[in-house]
């Protein structure tokens, strides 16, 4: 293992300390239990958004705390769901009296911990709603699994619903909007290399030099299929196809196209993929009206990428364009 770390057990704490020192204008960081809230929390009268998950997906979620996006984020150990006490304290710290929306990626641990936290928060008189993100089309038979995973769409949901909350929409409206985003978005990812969890010290799976994994998640879980490496264009086709067919996205649809790096893949390659994806969508009569390209929901140093499509309408476009000021995403301010 070759990493810029000190002690594997201090990775998350030292990262939080760095975030605290770098962004005092954006966030406040709390320890034991660990959570991050926006600097001006709680914002009175505004619905607050809280998300969280294992660390190792940076900038998600801590990097998305700030005006126009999340109010609070709970970082777990690397690739491990955070715990209910973190979520409860974050929920209490951001509640401005208009209720708190938990954005939960659909993983067994995340779902159970957030469920327990929501119960505890309701017990303390806070109105809490939860929405699940489960956009990963690579999980084929969701009847016989823990269900589809929450992946790339999480980033788009946090931005769009964050803007809606900032605009003054109610808890129910924000929850409905989040469910709409989840219903209209789909993702799929692939890996060129594995990644190494610091406290494990060896790669999460072994992937020979000339092979790739199609349909990976974001925790170094192996994917559904392993195959010989193909060209960027072929790989893009392999992801865009299932994503388009699943919803399905149709001729005349306007979409946001999100090409995400899993951490190790550089922008130069993401643009090659983006170019092919736009071409494929154009051939199907699907118009890319917004885009996001870069490392936003990563899997440590894994090389690979994911493609997310979200069907847009005027409301979603307006919310996407609204100002956002966070460490990981910033425009219009």
């Amino acid at each position: 293992m070759k990493k810029l770390i000190n002690n594997p057990e201090d990775v998350v704490k030292e990262e939080l300390k760095g975030i605290e020192l770098a962004h005092p204008d954006l966030v406040k960081v709390f320890y034991d239990p660990d959570f991050i809230v926006r600097a001006d929390a709680p914002v009175q009268g505004k619905v607050a958004l809280v998300s969280g998950g294992g660390s190792g997906h940076e900038p998600m979620h801590g990097g998305f705390v700030g005006k126009g996006m999340l109010d609070g984020a709970c970082p777990g150990a690397v690739f491990t769901s955070p715990t209910p006490d973190q979520m409860l304290e974050a929920t209490k710290a951001v509640d401005g009296g208009a209720g708190v929306l938990h954005i939960v990626k659909n993983y067994t641990g995340d779902v159970m911990n957030f469920e327990m936290a929501a119960d505890l928060a309701r017990g303390e008189g806070i109105e809490v709603e939860s929405v699940l993100v489960d956009d990963d089309v690579a999980v084929e038979n969701s009847t016989w699994t823990a269900g589809r995973r929450g992946v790339g769409l999480t980033v788009l949901m946090e931005k769009i619903v964050g803007a809606a909350a900032e605009e003054g929409r109610s808890l129910n409206e924000c929850a409905d909007l989040a469910r709409k985003v989840n219903a209209q978005g789909r993702s799929m990812g692939m890996a060129l290399t594995s990644c190494t969890v610091p406290h494990v010290g060896k790669p999460s799976f072994d992937l020979p030099e000339d092979e790739m994994e199609i349909g990976i998640g974001i925790h170094g879980e192996p994917g559904r299929h392993r195959m010989k490496l193909e060209s960027a264009d072929k790989i893009t086709e392999m992801l865009v196809g299932p994503v388009v067919e699943d919803l399905p996205f149709k001729e005349g649809d306007e979409v946001l196209l999100f090409v995400n790096s899993m951490g190790g893949t550089p922008l130069i390659e993401l643009y090659i993929v983006y170019r092919k994806a736009v071409e494929l969508l154009k051939a199907k009569g699907i118009k890319v009206v917004r885009h996001l390209i870069g490392p936003y929901i990563t899997s440590l140093e894994m090389a690979g990428m994911s493609i997310t499509l979200l069907k847009m309408d005027e409301d979603l476009k307006k919310l996407w364009d609204a100002p956002v000021k966070t460490a990981g995403m910033r425009w219009g301010i």
């Binding site: 769901s81 999980v139 699994t145 823990a146 969890v197 998640g217």
Partner: protein
């Protein structure tokens, strides 16, 4: 002979030691079909439990087990955190304010914990989870008690059944948790949750064999 508060403390301590000795093995099992954190998470949780135990060592068994559960809830994370936490909290609630328990109390506590895990995880037998070690352990314990077997022997039969249940997860295709994303590729691997659960039952059999 009854199982005393001290025996319960010894059981938890023994289990914590077993986790400490086997955390790498558990993480490696999880690396094969999950996300490579089960051993590390359990180890972190039970280190915190060992620090917490002295503060409740003069309390009743229910309080001790519920304290273990609350500590795990805030220290383990992942899926194992809420599941093990529920196991200990439900078991603690079932036993209540006793400082000594009979084998029957333990059987009821184990059942309460198992039901709690099944409800929270929404899993069925043969989904390749902790339950595949727990249900056999529970059934074997009930059968042994029905036959009037001694406490030590009944607990050993329960541990043997958990062991068999753990091994029986190897050919199963996972239907819950992160291993389920692998589909057929999850077959051929032993479930890490069922493995740590076997250690839990075995630790009880080992520490309470003369009770």
């Amino acid at each position: 002979m009854a199982i005393t508060r001290d025996d319960v403390l010894k059981w938890v301590t023994t289990f914590a030691q077993v986790i400490e000795e086997n955390h790498e093995m558990l993480t490696n099992l999880d690396r094969e079909i999950g996300d490579a954190d089960h051993g590390a998470n359990m180890r972190r949780g039970f280190k915190a439990v060992l620090e917490k135990l002295p503060s409740v060592e003069d309390k009743d068994i229910g309080t001790i087990l519920k304290t273990v559960g609350m500590t795990l809830l805030s220290k383990v994370g992942g899926a194992a955190g809420p599941l093990y936490s529920t196991m200990f909290m439900k078991a603690g609630t079932s036993i209540g304010a006793k400082t000594e328990m009979e084998l029957n109390d333990w059987a009821q506590a184990l059942e309460a914990g198992t039901v709690g895990i099944a409800n929270l995880g929404k899993a069925q037998p043969n989904d390749k989870t902790m339950l595949d070690a727990l249900y056999p352990a529970l059934n074997a314990l009930g059968a042994a008690m029905g036959n009037g077997t001694s406490t030590g022997e009944a607990l050993q039969k329960s541990a043997d059944a958990a062991h068999e249940g753990m091994l029986a997860t190897i050919p199963l295709v996972a239907r819950k948790g992160r291993a389920s994303y692998l589909g057929e590729r999850s077959a051929g691997h032993q479930d890490p949750g069922a493995t740590s659960t076997y250690f839990l039952i075995k630790s009880a059999a080992d520490t309470w064999k003369d009770c």
